[in-house]
Amino acid sequence: MAFWRRRERGLRLFFATDLHGSTLAFRKFLSAPRFYEADLLVLGGDLTGKRLIRVGRDGDSAELREKAETEGAYLWEVGRDEPRPGGSDAEFEHSVFTALAADRIRQWLAKAEDVLSQTQTPCYVIAGNDDPPLIADVLNQHQGPLVRHCESRVLEAAGGHQVAGLGMSNPTPWHTPRETSEEELAQHLERLAALCPDGSRLIADVHVPPHGLLDSCALLDGSVSPPRPLMSGGQPVMGSVGSTAVRDYLQRTQPLLALCGHVHEEHGALRLGRTLVVNPGSEYGDGTLRGALIQFGEGNLNFQLTSG
């Protein structure tokens, strides 16, 4: 067929990841079925924001709330003489942060079920390494018909495909809630491989990129708090931070498609054997949604990275 002719299209998937609490980016993600005519949505991990902003009982405003939700921050309303529970300030702040993050995820899930019901578009989601275990619990307990948690399980998807996910990561300098050793990560992936040994129809949502592929960023010195960039000759030292366990898993099972994120600065798509590995990157901080459109053809995949 001539290259200028429009072909009858097959399954179209839209993937975005690392939204980090940005409600604006999430609302854009929910527009993908109409805007990109996507038939299937996959949302990678790291849904939790990174900042907690204290405001007085009378310091809240619609403008501040909108800005915080766009940037992925949480507003914490505290009265001046409000009684505090026991424990350290850091522990208390952490519990407030986690509760606010979980509330936002519940709101997102309700919104997603409502919006996606208009087009009956399924959405597969995982928590990432930055998400506290409570977020994974919220996703796991969600009973909606369209948004489905695919962590450590293999789910049937449209077009005879399967979706499997794993949102944990290898160690990072930030000591995030759901990171673990490469050995333990390999065990989790081994269990996933046992559930679906044939990767020819598999879409793997693995969050962490394979080592050496779409995983380059400035290396950090984790021995200080907060971690700071390693410098050499006045320049930041760049290196691979992806997982060797994920690379082994992808090389062994050769899924049709591997969707990852984790490293925000990277965005691209590369082949690892038969597997198309995609990392759309993330710019959640200003509400920009980075994503990847994957078009399934007859025996091939085409992709387009997006930003909007």
């Binding site: 067929m1 001539a2 290259f3 200028w4 002719r5 429009r6 072909r7 299209r9 097959g10 179209r12 604006l24 609302r27 854009k28 929910l30 527009s31 993908a32 805007f35 990109y36 909108e66 800005k67 766009t70 940037e71 919104k111 919006v115 200003d286 509400g287 949604l289 459109l293 078009q295 053809g297 085409n302 992709f303 387009q304 990275l305 997006t306 930003s307 909007g308």
Partner: protein
């Protein structure tokens, strides 16, 4: 791409094709369009504008980005016209004008072919950087 780069490097070093301000003239329309886009951003894309660092900055009640965008457009427009009208800049020679028009034409051809190829693959290239309306 390497061959094209070598060709242009050869042209730059061994010919007088680029010994004009033609390249700057060719870039000015892009700068002018960017200035206009910035100037109208607060009304054209209010959501995007509100999330930008310049959002709260105003002078005489007018968004600062509108003032700087308008001034930038006027300045680049004056330079663009001056380069075209005044022969001392060596921009309005036929060679220079052909290079400017040719560069835009080649770019347009590359985009059109890419757009057609991507469309045949079921992908719409025009939406790659389009702002997505939030649901």
């Amino acid at each position: 791409m390497l061959v094209i780069s070598i060709f242009f490097l050869w042209g730059l070093v061994y010919t007088t094709w680029f010994a004009t301000l033609g390249a700057i003239e060719g870039m000015l329309p892009a700068v002018m369009l960017t200035c206009i886009a910035g100037a109208i951003l607060p009304w054209r894309k209010p959501d995007l504008y509100r999330t930008s660092p310049i959002a709260g900055m105003r002078a005489l009640g007018i968004p600062l980005i509108t003032i700087t965008g308008t001034l930038g457009f006027l300045y680049t427009a004056v330079v663009f016209v001056a380069f075209l009208l005044d022969g001392q800049y060596l921009v309005n020679s036929p060679t220079s004008l052909i290079w400017i028009a040719g560069t835009f034409t080649v770019g347009l051809v590359i985009f059109t072919v890419s757009w057609l190829v991507r469309r045949s693959q079921g992908l719409d290239l025009s939406k790659a950087y389009q702002a997505i309306p939030p649901a």
